[in-house]
Amino acid sequence: MDAILLQILNGLDKGGAYALIALGLTITFGTLGVVNFAHGALFMLGAFCAVSVKALLSLEQVTEDATQLTAWGTPLEVRVPYVESWFGDFGTVLLDYSVPVSILVAIPVMLLIGVVMERGLIRFFYKRPHADQILVTFGLAIVLQEIVKGAFGANPIPQPAPDVAKGMIDFGVAVGMDAGNVVYPMWRLVYFLFSVAVIAGVFAFLQFTTFGMVVRAGMADRETVGLLGIDVDRRFTIVFGIAAMVAGLAGLMYTPILSPDYHMGMDFLVLSFVVVVVGGMGSLPGAVAAGFLLGILQSFASMNEVKSILPGIDQIIIYLIAVIILLVRPRGLMGRKGVMEH
């Protein structure tokens, strides 16, 4: 029982990341009708927002303290981050919480990147075949990756979680089991709650605001909404920005779990596409459900008990599920007829 609970928990954070990326992909499919292979790169860019903020916050002021000497007899260099010398304790807290703090930076940055991408490139591809859309965004993904590689190097850059969330949490106690059975890293739980919050936010935005209503109407029938005198293109641009932001935040919050490097986006992108296909192209609830489902299944497949029966299953479980789903339910779990069929 506790083993099962632990695997479900283990799958939740990864599932959350899949769900967030797949959500953005689905929104882009549904509104703009564009297959965005650069979506994984947006995830990666979000992660590097956290890296940049951390790097900026930890810029250090170096002073030489002549009263103290090092072992070599030179004056001791005292390194104090500027934020600490300016803001004191608040600066220390700021540095400690660099990952959550960088959300504030990432939201405008990712929105801007999304809008620029849509206006500057994607909009010229609405009328082009899907193959062209795939190819041009694939090229863009490579370019973005290589730029990040040039700027930050090829090695993963670890990002610490805030001290509060660094430890483990004994989840078993909370649900009335013996202590020590279900121990779970705190930050993963934070990530899961964060992803649920973002997903809820996106759904609420689409469901309960006038803007969201127009967007949903535009997804169903773009032409009619346009004929009603509503500037659909403008709204869809903003929607693309939001999708970019969601992917960016997903990557940003994931940095304490997986140290970001330049190709992290590609690995997630392929899996997220599979998630979208399993969930049903064009279905938002499908994308979210399939994201969590596949995340949890993947964590079950990496249990040693399972691996000893079926070696290597953890590597391929997601693809295998996708194949089975497509053979049994060709439109995915919640796909509708006529959506992105061609």
Binding site: A131, E146, M281, G312, Q315, L326, H342
Partner: protein, 380 residues
């Protein structure tokens, strides 16, 4: 019965191709590409791209997983060297067959969907093969190290023929001719000429027409009561066989096989070769493969020293600036150039270089005609 002859234009095309391949060392020498390693790459990736084009160019199905078949071909060929003989013929035959077999299985599943679904499914399969080759299949693929020949390999057929390689690590040879350097290139070149001939045949056959029909309007074909699935599958298998053969040849000229050959960026590269040259044209993919491999070779060789020398004529601060900017695009940064090239081609020249040539020649013809018309108008 249709004969095996080609129309006059196709004969000229084939003859031209043969001439360029066989005269490759001389023709490419002025470009600095007249050495066997690079020429081998030209023809091998030419085969890969020609095969990919039979699927993508004719039927319009965009596969993002063809590198998997390339990798399978390489592994098969190396195993054939290890177990059977160092002769490349069984190696490439087996590589082709196995490539085709895997393509049949994967294609059968992926072709149940069209459009983006198809692309994503092939991508998923390629990624799955890559993951497997790195992890569980290590006994077959030798994981990260890559599959290599060792001295103690059984080589049953060689042993039966009483051939002993002694204490050196054997390299592949065709009845005594070693398959590296120019002989290796000519072996690959002859294979590629055969492949090119077959591609012409496929393009001109009723089967090829059917594939084009799938691209232009699959619905209409379905309405006329035709099941397009077998045709698309056949195209998928043929292109998988081409990919397997190309992978096998890669192993023939350099008996090594690694999983990175199957990565999806490698699949992206063959897509780029095909569209850069011109999808759906006979010659386009070959040209695309040549151009990409040529520039990859040139660009990756650049380093800071060469760049400094190249911008030597500029004042020093500007020189440093130029070197810093360009070094992003060359050497290690070759992929950036590749990605940018990808975007530029798709945005501005979706028909590829072939379309560019056609536009250019139409332009020239237009100017010539305009002059003549102008002259005659003046004369009248």
């Amino acid at each position: 019965m249709r004969t095996l002859t080609l129309s006059r234009n196709d004969l000229i095309l084939l003859a031209g191709y043969t001439l360029v391949v066989l005269g490759g060392p001389i023709i490419m020498a002025p470009l600095g590409a007249g050495y066997p390693d690079l020429l081998q790459k030209f023809v091998i990736f030419g085969i890969f791209a020609v095969g990919f084009n039979i699927l993508f160019g004719l039927t319009g199905y965009l596969s993002f997983g063809h590198a998997a078949f390339l990798g399978i071909g390489s592994y098969t060929a190396v195993w054939s060297f290890k177990l059977l003989t160092m002769n490349p013929l069984p190696a490439i035959v087996l590589a082709t067959l196995l490539g085709g077999l895997f393509a049949a299985v994967i294609g059968y599943i992926c072709l149940r969907r069209t459009g983006i679904y198809f692309s994503i499914l092939t991508l998923a399969f390629a990624q799955m093969s890559y993951n497997l080759a790195y992890s569980v299949l290590t006994p077959i693929t030798n994981g990260e190290t890559g599959l290599q020949l060792v001295q103690s390999d059984p080589r049953i057929l060689d042993a039966a023929a009483g051939r002993d390689y002694g204490a050196v690590l054997p390299s592949s040879d065709l009845f005594g001719i070693p398959m590296n350097g120019y002989p290796g290139f000519y072996f690959c070149g002859v294979v590629s000429i055969v492949c090119f001939y077959l591609a012409i045949r496929i393009f001109r056959s009723p089967f090829g027409l059917m594939l084009r029909a799938i691209k232009s309007n699959q619905n209409r074909l379905n309405y006329t009561g035709l099941n397009t699935q077998p045709y698309a599958l056949a195209a998928f298998v043929v292109s998988g066989m081409y990919a397997g053969l190309a992978g096998g040849l890669l192993a023939v000229v350099d008996p090594l096989a690694g999983a990175e050959r199957m990565q999806w960026t490698a699949s992206g590269e063959v897509v780029l070769m095909t569209i850069l040259g011109g999808a759906g044209t006979l010659l386009g993919p070959v040209i695309g493969a040549g151009v990409i491999k040529y520039f990859e070779n040139i660009f990756s060789a650049f380093n800071e020293g060469i760049l400094m020398a190249a911008f030597d004529f500029l004042p020093e601060p500007i020189q440093h600036l130029m070197v810093n900017v360009t070094s992003l695009f060359v050497g290690e940064g070759w992929h950036l150039t590749l990605g940018a090239l990808f975007m530029v081609i798709v945005i501005f020249l979706p028909g590829g270089l072939m379309e560019g040539f056609n536009r250019l020649s139409a332009l020239v013809a237009g100017i010539v005609r305009g002059r003549r018309d102008g002259a005659s108008a003046r004369g009248a």
